[in-house]
């Protein structure tokens, strides 16, 4: 064992979200020989979004496996490997392609443990770049996390900072269950403080990003980032928003939401997936069913994706999902109605 110099421990430096994910994979592979990555163009190419980068040079083609374009097959291969003692990390090029792999994720990975009476486990991580804003249009821009949040047996995680990306990914790799890890394409270049040492963030714990007293804004993925920026605009107008980054939708930390709503009495939920039958509906219903309902002074408001496939034109694309100004306007509207 090498003794690490004291100043290395807990040393923090700036990394991008993509670098943080790569660092988590590298550290997990160094620590555990059963961890490996498979996916399309993740080797020499370095991944469709450059996330795996140089990992093939560090760990070789046997542990950073380039696969054919066969999402159902590679998802199944990951399930079979996970079932027999390995800890695969499957990268899909775009989260939209999970539709091709859904059979293995929904019918197999999610159900194997229960169907087999608790006598098997599938420690699998599926990493997926998701979300709109890159001009990739309808088949490369979706936010499908709510689909999988509906499936018992899966965990569904959405990091919104480099720090969370590393900590949640290391927790996902350790997890004995299948974890769907939705990365946001627009966050890959975002920089933030990330400790060098490996650390884990408990899956299923939301985080209060900003304390406030007037309105609670719950955001997922990039919408937590936009909610935080919106909160600064609102502060300039004398409104103190409390911003919660949900971080995972299954399991969902409703307690942190209830606690905040009891304090602020107003709730806005912001998410990129299509508004109808989405994460916002679940959170709204959970609050309505809880004692936090009694504390509400205004109707709950949902901001979600429009009821359209994602369009190509940048103006249309922006209009299709909530933006910072939409969140500001929604909060002002909610408070104005409330005061009337």
């Amino acid at each position: 064992m090498l003794d690490k110099p004291k100043d290395m421990i807990n040393q923090v430096r700036e990394l991008t979200y993509a670098e943080a994910i790569r660092e988590a994979m590298g550290q997990a592979m160094e620590a555990d020989p059963t961890v490996f990555i498979l996916g399309e163009d993740i080797g020499t190419y370095g991944g469709a979004f450059g996330v795996t980068g140089d990992l093939i040079h560090r760990f070789g083609a046997e542990r950073v496996i380039d696969t054919p374009i066969a999402e159902l097959g590679i998802a199944g291969a990951a399930v079979g490997a996970a079932l027999t003692g390995m800890r695969p990390i499957l990268e899909l090029q775009f989260s939209d392609f999970v539709t091709l792999a859904a059979e293995q994720i929904v019918n197999q990975a999610a159900k194997i443990r229960f169907m087999f009476g608790g006598k098997a486990s599938v420690p699998l991580v599926v990493r997926m770049p998701s979300g709109s804003g890159t001009g990739a249009a309808a088949q490369h821009s979706q936010s499908l996390e709510a689909w999988f949040g509906h499936i018992p047996g899966l965990k569904v995680v959405q990091p919104s900072t480099p720090y969370d990306a590393k900590g949640l990914l290391l927790a996902a790799i350790d997890d004995p269950n299948p974890v769907l890890f939705f990365e946001h394409k627009l966050l890959y270049k975002m920089k933030g403080a990330v400790p060098i040492e490996p650390y884990r963030i408990t899956i299923g714990q939301a985080v209060v990003r900003r304390a406030g007293t007037d309105v609670t804004i719950v955001g997922t993925s990039i919408m937590a980032v936009r909610a935080l920026a919106a909160a600064e605009q609102l502060a300039a107008q004398g409104i103190e928003a409390e911003v919660i980054d949900l971080r995972s939708i299954r399991p969902m930390d409703t307690e942190t939401i209830f606690r905040s709503v009891r304090k602020t009495s107003r709730l806005i939920v912001v998410y990129e997936g299509v508004k109808t039958l989405g994460v916002g509906a679940e959170i709204s219903a959970a609050v309505a069913e809880s004692d936090a309902f009694d504390f509400l002074d205004a109707p709950i408001m949902r901001l979600g994706g429009q009821e359209v496939p994602l369009p190509y034109n940048p103006v249309l694309e922006k209009a299709a999902v909530p933006q910072e100004d939409d969140i500001v306007a929604a909060a002002l509207n909610l408070l104005r109605k409330d005061r009337r």
């Binding site: 059963t34 490996f36 046997e62 542990r63 696969t67 054919p68 066969a70 159902l72 097959g73 590679i74 998802a75 199944g76 291969a77 990951a78 399930v79 079979g80 490997a81 996970a82 079932l83 027999t84 003692g85 390995m86 695969p88 059979e103 293995q104 019918n107 197999q108 194997i112 443990r113 229960f114 169907m115 087999f116 009476g117 608790g118 006598k119 098997a120 486990s121 420690p123 018992p152 047996g153 965990k155 004995p176 269950n177």
Partner: protein
């Protein structure tokens, strides 16, 4: 030593001559156990002890046994919705299978899975599968895992003629071949995907022909001849274990019963069913061995009698077992 002497005996098929007496009796016992297990399961279903549905493999026992008996205990397999035979051949305890069929807490899956999801991962049975073609990519993953862990394990992937038309078949066989994985694909071609005749559903008459596309050996074998199946399986398993890559074996067979309990056999003739009933793999092995003057009838009769007792005890165990507690319904969704 003895097998080489037997090989020199006249009038013995080489496949059968290569099998020792013990192997013959072991194969017979496994096939008969599967047959009687399924007949008793069917009877229990009729008497109301089993709800839901089940897919019986009566008539197909030789493909399960011929392949699995050639495996090592440490090897793995993936199975299908018609998978009782694969599990039993792999050594599953019929009592725990009956208990599962009866929905009992003592069953293989604690009553959570039923007939279509029998699994025993610890013993290498990676599970029956309710999705046609579902096990194909999983077998590739198990073989990839075996190769990465250098465990010397081979994975056998059972699937039906119906599954060979799924995209998963193509993706799985191609991956297994490019990575030279230790997996043996065994297509149990029982002629029908539910009601669809293979002649109507496949562009080629033999599923084994498709192996050409994946640069792997493909062979069709009489799936009702346990010795022939075993001979082919041994070659494919040895090849897989030696790192020479996957093979595709097509066992041509027939399911005597319908697809499931809802099948009224509108799509095939009584004559066809009767013709295949005459090719019963269990009777065939017994008669052929007796005809060659190897082994005596009482060796087979003793096995039959022991199986009857085992079935009786197993069913009583299942009947007497407790139902699962609804208060524990949501346990085991997550590890």
């Amino acid at each position: 030593m003895s097998s080489s002497v037997e090989a020199l005996r006249p009038n013995q098929r080489p496949e059968l001559a290569n099998l020792s007496d013990d192997t013959i009796l072991e194969s017979y016992r496994a096939m008969k156990l599967i047959r009687r297990f399924e007949e008793r399961a069917e009877e229990s279903y009729m008497r109301g002890f089993i709800h839901g549905t089940m897919h019986l493999s009566i008539g197909q026992e030789a493909s399960a046994v011929g392949v699995v008996v050639a495996l090592r205990a440490s090897d793995t397999l993936t199975s299908t919705h018609r998978g009782h035979g694969h599990s039993i051949a792999k050594g599953a305890d019929p009592a725990l299978m009956f208990a599962e069929f009866f929905g009992k807490q003592t069953g293989y899956c604690g009553g959570r899975g039923g007939s279509m999801h029998i699994a025993d991962v610890e013993s290498g049975n990676l599970g029956a599968n309710g999705i046609v073609g579902g096990g194909l990519p999983i077998a590739v993953g198990a073989a990839l895992s075996a190769k990465m862990r250098k465990s010397d394990q081979v994975c056998v992937c059972f699937f039906g003629d119906g599954a060979s038309n799924e995209g998963a078949f193509h993706e799985a066989l191609n991956m297994a071949s490019i990575w030279r994985l230790p997996v043996v694909f065994v297509c149990e071609n029982n002629k029908y995907g539910m009601s669809m005749d293979i002649a109507r559903s496949s562009a080629v008459p033999d599923i084994a022909q498709r192996a050409v596309s994946y640069a792997m050996p493909g062979i069709s074998v009489d799936g009702n001849d346990v010795a022939a199946v075993r001979a082919v399986a041994e070659t494919a398993i040895a090849r897989a274990r030696a790192g020479e890559g996957p093979s595709l074996i097509e066992c041509k067979t027939y399911r005597i019963r319908g697809h499931s309990k809802s099948d009224r056999n509108f799509y095939r003739t009584k004559e066809e069913i009767e013709e295949w009933r005459g090719r019963c793999p269990i009777e065939r092995l017994r008669n052929e061995v007796l005809g060659l003057g190897r082994l005596s009838a009482d060796r087979f009769d003793a096995i039959d009698a022991a199986i009857e007792v085992e079935m009786e005890v197993a069913i009583e165990f299942a009947k007497a077992s407790p139902n699962p507690d609804p208060a524990r319904l949501t346990e085991d969704v997550y590890a």
